[in-house]
């Protein structure tokens, strides 16, 4: 996280353009700019500025947007609902689809189902999120007119309208994630299914579903959970794109807008926050290992 903070700060430090000159405006003199720079502490050397910046971050102050002058934390707060909703539905959807897919593929290894799952996985990796998004919009919204084209409805306005808006973005964003998890599930399950205790469980007449879920899946859980955690990076990258395609007012859109306007404090804040979320999720994943494998202790 320290490296991330340093990197993100360097981003602002190295950013082209002088914030003092921008704030001062067109009619400012050189003296004015120097004064503003001193007030903002911009004339301090790198390490001191980094120190003050880090200090304020740790106090929850991410700075203010160059354009709207609103604190970045407020801006993030306004947009966080849509992004969290999309990420959460995608996560649930992807895990619910991918894990059974992977389990069945491994169980029937070499069969048509297995082939189909693997082919789907390759396609899932190959079709970019926004391509899938537009295909879905074209198919289900424009041609069939079943689902709304774009936008976002808050969950406070009712659960069904909320879900209806999220169906297409969730599928678009979830596909690559499903491909990733299904492949890992299949690989992990194949390893476990070759073990002796699986044959024992089978031989003593245990029902197939009990063997698959109770014995095999439980032992294959650690790599699967790991890849779910790593895949969150895909999810975060995909959110930025999906929100643009479906015009969802979330953090991803905010990032894109900030990039187009070169609003560095906002870009910084969002990247810092996403990276933090990513690190925390992977920490939770590491901690969850003890749930699946009692041999692992911390």
């Amino acid at each position: 996280m320290g490296v991330v903070a340093l990197f993100v700060f360097s981003l602002l430090y190295l950013a082209p353009g002088d914030p003092a000159a921008i704030i001062a405006g067109d009619i400012a003199t050189v003296d004015d700019i120097a004064r503003i720079r001193a007030v903002l502490g911009l004339d301090e050397p790198f390490h001191i500025r980094f120190g003050t910046w880090l200090w304020s971050i740790l106090h929850g102050d991410l700075g203010s947007s160059i354009f709207s002058n609103l604190p970045v934390s407020t801006l993030i707060g306004q947009r966080v609902e849509a992004t969290v909703s999309l990420a959460a539905t995608t996560l649930v959807f992807a895990v619910l689809v991918a894990v059974p897919m992977g389990v069945v593929a491994a169980w029937k290894a070499g069969s048509l189902i297995d082939r189909a799952v693997m082919v789907f996985a390759v396609f899932g990796f190959s079709v970019p999120v926004f391509v899938l998004g537009y295909l879905l919009i074209f198919g289900f919204s424009i041609s069939l007119d079943w689902l709304p084209v774009q936008g976002f409805v808050s969950i406070t306005e009712g659960f069904w309208p909320f879900l209806r808006q999220l169906v297409l973005p969730t599928i678009a964003l979830g596909t690559v994630y499903i491909a990733l998890i299904a492949r890992m599930t299949r690989a992990a399950m194949l390893d476990v299914l070759a073990q002796d205790y699986i044959r024992t469980a089978d031989a003593k007449g245990l029902r197939t579903d009990r063997v698959l879920v109770g014995h095999a899946l439980r032992n294959a859980a650690v790599p699967i959970v790991t890849v779910i955690g790593i895949g969150v990076a895909l999810l975060i990258g995909g959110v930025v794109v999906t929100e643009s395609v479906f015009a969802i007012p979330g953090l991803g859109r905010m990032t894109v807008d900030a990039i187009l306007r070169r609003d560095y404090p906002v870009i910084q804040g969002v990247i810092l926050m996403f990276s933090f979320v990513y690190v925390v999720i992977n920490l939770l994943v590491d901690l969850s290992y003890t749930l699946f494998d009692p041999r692992i202790r911390y």
Partner: protein
């Protein structure tokens, strides 16, 4: 991107019949053929019946596909067919350059950190930090710093891939370091650089080749994403991402402005992924699984 999940060889329980070579290597053949087609398309773009992909023509805006304009025209009257064909150049160039850059840098860092404990400790913390920033965001952040150009896009995407290659190379080196043939080389007084180049390097080639194809595929997607959100190549260069981004405004009346470049983009990435899967299975599968 963390797309390097690898399926294992089938367990012994499943008997696989020995099939003819072209059936066993069907993914390499299919992927290779598709990729070759994309490469030829990029190289021969001026001779494939294309016109200037940036030529504006206000009088023929948003034409549907016709004999003259196979895929129709966009809102500035540019020929979509020509733009899509020329778009292959940017995508393939970015993919190949990112793969080459990331593999070269990752190979260097990985070899060094695999053989020097101090460098390893520092380097791996830096790489962990870089890896904790989702790769698309990292590229976006780097692009926000610099101006849109081909070189900058390549570097921005490659930086995110370097840590993964470094880790792969490092894990191979750490495994090989304990091998008898390396110990023998050390015992006979071979210098460390020579051991790295003569004994370690050749063993990293197979997994790196596989890794390079995956990086190439994900780089092409990332480039398209960057162009799509306006942080990639300048709009003056026809790339698949740029064409799709520009087609957004008129998607509802002319969906082919998005769907056609999208199809080319997906097919190219699919080809490279197939090639990568095939190579992984054909080359030593155990080494590739270490990622």
């Amino acid at each position: 991107m963390a797309l390097t999940v690898v399926s294992p060889t089938p367990p012994e329980a499943i008997k696989v019949r020995r099939r003819p070579w072209w059936v066993r290597n069907i993914t390499i053949i299919a992927g290779g053929a598709l990729l070759l087609a994309a490469l030829l398309m990029a190289l021969l773009a001026p001779w494939l019946g294309t016109i200037d992909p940036t030529a504006l023509s206000p009088i023929r805006r948003l034409r549907p596909p016709s004999d003259q304009f196979w895929f129709g025209t966009d809102q500035l009257g540019r020929d979509l067919y020509s733009r899509v064909i020329y778009g292959a150049r940017a995508s393939l160039l970015v993919g190949a350059a990112v793969a080459a850059f990331a593999v070269a840098a990752g190979l260097f860092f990985g070899l060094v950190s695999g053989f020097n404990r101090w460098v390893d400790a520092v380097l791996m913390r830096v790489m962990d930090g870089l890896m904790s920033i989702p790769s698309v965001l990292l590229a976006v952040a780097l692009m926000a710093l610099t101006k849109a150009s081909l070189g900058n896009v390549i570097v921005a995407i490659a930086v995110a891939e370097v840590p993964r290659v470094t880790r792969l190379v490092r894990s191979v080196v750490l495994g090989l370091r304990e091998q008898p043939f390396v110990e023998a080389a050390v015992a006979s007084g071979t210098s460390a650089p020579r051991i790295l180049v003569r004994h370690i390097l050749p063993n990293t080639i197979a997994p790196l080749l596989v890794q390079a194809t995956y990086i190439c595929a994900s780089a092409i997607i990332t480039e398209a994403i960057l162009s799509f959100i306006g942080a990639g190549l300048p709009p003056s260069i026809p790339t698949w991402g740029n064409i799709i981004a520009e087609g957004r405004a008129v998607f509802q009346i002319r969906p082919q402005l998005i769907l056609i470049p999208a199809a080319f983009l997906s097919a190219t990435v699919l080809a490279i992924n197939l090639l990568g899967d095939g190579l992984r299975d054909a080359l030593d599968p155990r080494l590739a699984r270490q990622m």
